[in-house]
Amino acid sequence: MSLASMAFKNLARQKRRTLLLGGAIAFGLVVVTVVNGLSGGAINTLESNLSNLVAGNIFISGTQKLGTDGVEYRIGDDKPLLRAIKELRIPYTYLSRESLVRQAALISDSSTVYLTLYGVELGPKSFLRHHLSIVQGSLDGVAHSDGILISEASAKKLDVKLGDRISVQTTTTSGQQNVLDFTVRAIYRSIGVADSLSGAYADLARVNSLLNLPPGDYNELSLYLKDLGQSELWGQKLYDQLKANGVPLWPRSSDQSQIDSFLREGQWTGTKYLLQTLGDQLSIVKGLFSALNLVALFILLLLYVVIMVGITNTYRMIVWERTREIGTLRALGMQRNEVRNLFLLEAVFLALGGIVSGFVVGVGLLGLLTFPDFSIWKDFTILLHNNHLSPTIDIGSFFVDLLLVTALTALAASFPARKAARLEPAVALRSTF
């Protein structure tokens, strides 16, 4: 009989004990699988939803130096940018020319809302038609008009309905105060806490008038990639290509205060471009989720320290209970290292069983969590895909957990296993237990 089959039989002999120890290991893995699955899915869904709202995952904004009087945000000549995109054959679904107004004040008779106003091309091919869920009104007729598209939450706060007029106040690209009136033509479904990120949308030419930008100009070029997961890869490739083509660029950065200091620095002229990916802009959120994963890992480690102590104590007891059996096996010719390996194999099988079953239960729970409709969970709809959770299963993390937990369990069992191996056969056989 091989050591492995003996180890299996020994585990089967004490079903309750095996179930309790394996269950403890499995529980830890359920927690980690669920937390990692939910946070990973939340990041992916957040990226996907925000990509829909801000029309892309790679953004290039233009900054033009105005003598000593500051900076004007405008793309100006976009030919070098479009050439680099064409040269790289970037696989994108949409290329969007936008004029962004950050912190635009939307003013109704009763309230004011501050959000980003996106001046976009609102024709039949507009990305908005595919990525925003219009709940009232329509995008038809918004192009080349004074129409504005706002979220349900903004409409509620402003107390406006379709057809109502609102004023939008901002500063022009050169810093002058400006106000234009818009008509609410459509209202889209709110995305909860990130509603302020989504903002409002209006015709590019109208927003250019508000910013006092020439017709046809814009201040941000956005690419919506076919594969969202490749935004970092293509973002870096595009940055390198633009640099190789001699296009003046700011260093890549996700830190707004650093970007501000770039712009304030006096030693530059002409137009320079800033390339960012959605990942850069979401770096803070991603950091939060990474911290959550680290906390989950820390909890798992604490849990396993407790489980390890339990395993060590249990195996001490097992060795004590099976002292005569060990003596018999040693008398029949079993070597010391074989005795040690027998106990280690038992622990490894126990760990593997717990890990696999914990992972299966965790995946099952994640699967169950995809069924409920969380549409009432309005503040967090940005983390939902069609009102449902969309968790991810990270096979890589599973194998890391597998190795880690198996090694920890084997380590916990190694002390009693070595003690068992050191038992003298004659002494063990004389044992009365």
Partner: protein, 253 residues
């Protein structure tokens, strides 16, 4: 025909005299802007004062902000340090030349703000606290005489000389005889009235004038008003170290 030929020189002389009389009565408005700047700026001394700002929004409690205000017009600098409410205590603004920096003691971070940004979310702009540059920033497009609350005023319509000036168009009511601004209206690039400001109780310090009370009415958000009162104005010399980032960092600790 003979009568007309005799009357023409008489009419011409009358028109000429009338024109001269009118010209004598019409001041040089650019010089007027220069006088306004000169008598409200403190180029030879520093200025400090205690500022109380009351922001009134419909349906909300008044928001009262108290700050210390230091100005050095000769070097185009100012510092504003928030004293109250406690939540904003230690926040500060530092203007050096064209750059205005805001300091937040909670994050210990400086960030750049513009002159056209609203001061602490009120209807006052950051640029309202700097020296007057009307003659540099604007040309007078129109002037009419008007009575404003029993005071004889010139209403000057100003057009910005550059597109970097916060308000592209302004109207100011200047008191005849004193050249003090009593009221102003600020317009957006699209021509919309954004803000009406009233200035009252000017005090004279060493031949310079400073309004003790200012009232800013938001013409887009009806009922929203900001009032600013200046107390304890002083022209005493201020230390150079006050107009630095280090001062804002230290004083907030």
């Amino acid at each position: 025909m003979k009568i007309y030929s005799r009357l023409l020189p008489v009419l011409g002389t009358l028109l000429l005299l009338g024109g001269r009389l009118f010209a004598q009565d019409t001041p040089d408005f650019h010089q007027m802007l220069k006088r306004i700047d000169a008598q409200t700026n403190f180029k030879n001394t520093d200025l400090s004062a205690r500022v109380t700002l009351v922001q009134r929004k419909p349906g909300e409690d008044d928001n009262v902000i108290q700050c210390e205000y230091f100005r050095r017009d000769a070097q185009d600098k100012f510092v504003i340090l928030i004293l109250k409410p406690d939540a904003q205590r230690g926040q500060g603004y530092l203007k050096i030349g064209d750059n205005i920096t805001f300091y937040d003691p909670e994050s210990r971070q400086f960030s750049t703000v513009t002159g056209s940004s609203n001061f602490q979310g009120s209807d006052a702009k950051n640029s309202d606290f700097q020296d007057s540059t009307l003659s540099e920033d604007y040309t007078v497009a129109n002037a009419v005489r008007e009575n404003l609350v029993n005071k004889d005023t010139w209403v000057l319509t100003l057009q910005a000389r550059r597109d970097t000036v916060t308000y592209p168009k302004r109207k100011i009511w200047v008191e005849v005889g004193t050249d003090l601004i009593l009221k102003s209206e600020d317009y957006s690039l699209s021509g919309r009235l954004l803000r009406t400001s009233l200035y009252g109780r000017y005090i004279e310090i060493e031949h310079r004038f400073i309004p003790q009370i200012m009232r800013f009415e938001d013409d887009l958000r009806k009922g929203q008003v900001t009032m600013i009162a200046l107390d304890h104005p002083s022209l005493a010399h201020l230390p150079d170290s006050l107009f630095t980032r280090l001062y804002l960092e230290k004083v907030s600790q």
